[in-house]
Symmetry: C2
Subunit: 273 residues, 2 copies
Amino acid sequence: MGEYAFDADTRVVASETSGASGASGADFAAELTGRWDGTNGAVNGGYMLAVCARALGLVVPFPDPIVISGFFLRPGMAGPAVVRTSLARSGRTTAFGEAVLAQGEKEIVRATAAFAALGSAGPAFVEGAPPRLPAPEDCVGVPVGSFGLATIAGRVEFRSASLPGWFRGEPTGRPSSEFWMRFADGRDADVYSLPLLVDSTAPSVLELGLTSTTIQLTVHLRAHPAPGWLACRAAARFVSGGYHEEDFEVWDSAGTLVAQSRQLAMVLPLLPA
Amino acid sequence: MGEYAFDADTRVVASETSGASGASGADFAAELTGRWDGTNGAVNGGYMLAVCARALGLVVPFPDPIVISGFFLRPGMAGPAVVRTSLARSGRTTAFGEAVLAQGEKEIVRATAAFAALGSAGPAFVEGAPPRLPAPEDCVGVPVGSFGLATIAGRVEFRSASLPGWFRGEPTGRPSSEFWMRFADGRDADVYSLPLLVDSTAPSVLELGLTSTTIQLTVHLRAHPAPGWLACRAAARFVSGGYHEEDFEVWDSAGTLVAQSRQLAMVLPLLPA
């Protein structure tokens, strides 16, 4: 049985020079593959954020990222990368670290994260519910990669009750959607892969005849996901001044909210196919 | 006419050693005052984030923070601080920088931000509206600092249609609220003070009989606010596993969404007064 694509493509290897700077942390080598490209042919931002999370996980003394913030300085391209990590603080319950993903001499992603041990103890309050969707087998596949160069469409599978308006050439004017999501090769999601998954879909603003590029993405990891399909909700509520936010909720097969993310993205015109 | 409290208390002064490291950026001296403390007597996190934003504004070549992420590693206390900034990238439309606020040898806040020139051009879509509130003069003042050591209650004024349940000793079980907000000394809000203002209210989870401490806060600055009262909406939708998110919207007097923020906070028991 082969290794899952996510695990193979986010592998990081400690560099020989690691720790030479004297800082608390380590440097890692990574190989970004061309299997997670967005429609513009650049490496998906969430994929790079997951590579950063995986490197940070090797230098912090807690098992779970609970919040990770990534700033996207430049497009990443398939090829070698380095991830320079530093441990900023390790406290009793929470540790904080930073990772800089660079290609050549250029910084591509600046990621900062807090780690802890996720549990289920304590008071609970939930305002909201998972999206109500037909069973995955009664849904249609959403062809996220049906335009452009989005190889990521071969890695992550999406299903929804009907085909999106933008795909039918009839943007609905409503930049929100609900759908099922999972890795195409059967790998179950975990807190390390959710930062990729929340950024893997087509932007909601396609329903406004627009597209966008991510400037910053914050992901909250709220629980360890149960195996199986993830029920998701994506929406942009505010498009103005050349920017929009995009919110994303991920609910697992047990009906638990497992991740919540928000990004700020720059609006781009949608070029004719 | 005296200087406004916000401007006086977020002043940063370039250090003589600035730039000695050779990195692109500068070090600044700041003096955190005891005028923005939360109920626990520690310096408010949004106040420290605003100090970081102000320092970053001096090293980036664009006028407006558009997104800032702050991780809160330790409580800050009134007294001297240093803010070490670095410019990570300056592109054609966007610049990225980082600020580390430290007291003594201890890192307190790690802030990362993107800057640009906010405009109002481009396509617009708004799903949502400002909260519908009685006029400020028909509202009651919300005594945010009515328990604990919250000196910030003297700096920021809040008004809502009725007193919150938590204040009356009857938590409503609904951790959401709508209210007016402004600086008590009449200073109008701008994109540099909004990172403070979005973190200046009592936590929504007080309505669940809980309180919390912020781990990470992301603020999107979406427009330059018009002068006057700000109409705000705060809510926690997901409390679980010892954490909760808190979402915050700020609408200006012209009915424009000017800021949107989300934080991840750790739930704490509410100690009896």
